[in-house]
Symmetry: C4
């Protein structure tokens, strides 16, 4: 009965992250059944590739960050587990707005599609921030062997996340395509902060 709650949270989270990322490919498809135009169709659906790559890397980055943060945490409490469940609920939802972006980008309806996508990612950033703040404030759930310097390094890595996803959300109302590209850039930018720990 004395296993840390963290390993159980990790197993469930790992499953959800990996499955959500891998399900993204189901949204990629061709709408024509005419073989003669397949080559053309495969080029025409570039928004599917862009949204696939953006969502896959974003989920991968969240996953790496999530693991990194969890490692600083000792025994979890009920609130933390509930916040984690809400975070996963949002992450597992990403394939739906990704499908919308694939279907509507550069067509009528791209506005609502990308707004839904950006809203899902903004909510993810909000839930992630709450989840981490809850564990970190006053070192509520932080393990005793974790130094303040390590926590501050994580905080620095997180600081730009929420504001940047807010920028993506606002941008979605003006230029849906730019918002998607910024999301992809954001994921690429996050990786260094996410994996800083790997070098130490």
């Amino acid at each position: 009965m004395n296993e840390s709650g963290t390993s159980r949270i990790e197993a469930f989270s790992d499953g959800v992250f990996a499955i959500a990322a891998t399900l993204l490919v189901l949204e990629v498809g061709v709408s024509t059944t005419s073989g003669a135009r397949l080559g053309h169709e495969l080029l025409r659906i570039w928004p599917s590739y862009l949204s696939y790559v953006t969502s896959f890397i974003t989920i991968g980055i969240i996953w790496i960050n999530h693991h990194h943060n969890l490692r600083t945490i000792g025994p979890a409490d009920r609130t933390f587990m509930f916040l984690n469940l809400l975070l996963l609920l949002d992450v597992a939802f990403i394939p739906f707005p990704t499908k919308l972006v694939a279907a509507y980008l550069r067509r009528d309806g791209e506005g609502p599609a990308v707004i839904a996508y950006a809203a899902t990612l903004l909510l993810m950033a909000v839930l992630y921030t709450i989840w981490w703040r809850y564990a970190r404030s006053g070192r509520r759930l932080i393990g005793p062997s974790v130094s303040e310097a390590e926590l501050r390094a994580i905080d620095r890595g997180f600081a730009p996340g929420l504001p940047l996803y807010l920028v993506v959300f606002v941008l979605a109302f003006f230029s849906p395509l730019a918002a998607v590209i910024l999301t992809l850039a954001l994921a690429a930018f996050y990786l260094p902060s996410a994996t800083l720990f790997a070098e130490r």
Copy 2:
């Protein structure tokens, strides 16, 4: 050959829980292909969001409970493994009635849809109760280091589950929407009892 049967059960169960929860998003979709009305359509499909959130949190809670109970159990026997398989069979089925609720809530057919949903959850509660009673009665499969107080704490957490899912089932015949909302509330209520152990 001396590995406890529990870890094997856990691995299979973990996979099924995480996959069933993450597959739920595949049921969310828009039925129009007109981009002009996409914004409106995204609001119109709120039953999809409600059923997604309800089923995701419900599966998450069952998963947390399942892990908590398994930890009290020593070597499993054949009957326990078969009961566990039946429980997972029901959990893995949840995406189907969830899809029905998403498609039919607040429309013709919401009655049968929500009754099917509530029946699946009621059966889950019944199977879960049998599964746990089998292991717990006379401490048949309970590990020697688990105290009676711990078992009683789990029992107290379980006591309201079966009657409440029965209420949901009956309510589904009269007010489908209320039955879905009660299911969501029930999942939120269960979390505390499920995670009590995390604080000890």
Copy 3:
């Protein structure tokens, strides 16, 4: 570099078994969109439920057996890993004929549908037998701590599997429904032999 090959095989196999079982629910669906007839439709699709339950329990049983057998095996060799991959290839294919049974049972086409289903399961039994015989004959891959009595107990459990799936296959040509029901019964029969080890 000295990790046993078995744990790697187990991780991949576990994933495939759990995902294949959980994907089965995606094949369950209603073909009508009229809400007024949903209640009737939910009863009409009973072959979907029957094929879902049959395939889920069958995959669960294969999974339990697979784990049990793997535990007797020491370091794996390349042939064993290739045979294991072929076995998983067949197991992961089960959702397709399951979908056929759901769609065609008790309708025109039930013959080919159930024959395809039975052929997939028969091939599974053949591959499983080859996989196990390869490891077991002359104790080629059997760990030194495993007794002959244990191996003979496993053999006894396996003996009826291949002939019975052959009976199912032949029966599919004459009575498709009976073949599906026998498959379900076979899975229930297999559980005891599969989990014998759990009691020792």
Copy 4:
């Protein structure tokens, strides 16, 4: 905070490999709803079976290789994790061109379909080579206990991979069917090198 980065990479990678392989079956389907012609239809869709088997074994082989290589690696750095994420992004994409091959082989459009398939596999081979070269060159991430002989054995196994997938890609422009069959043969050829370690 001192867990090796490799185990985290392994867990995510394992999930993606197993899920991508198991999702392949969702692409197999019959397009007719007439039960009378189901038997004929099940034979007509042989390209679905061929592409399913080819992709399943290919993913299985990549997965075995990936595990084998990871085992030689000590603590990972950020670049390695990013390369790994790109590799998984490509592997998880395989079900899409597999679906194209299933739908278009031996019909109009088979050219673009198989070119897309071969391009995905060629990109996989390129990313895999970069991923491994990055870790291996100058023993940048290689664990101290790994001998040069072991590394050279892995290199020998890898040497033919990239050129052969390039041949498959070029072949796809001239004979799509031959390109798919060569891909299947390539996977079967890779297994020995992939599992060499299992015998040592």
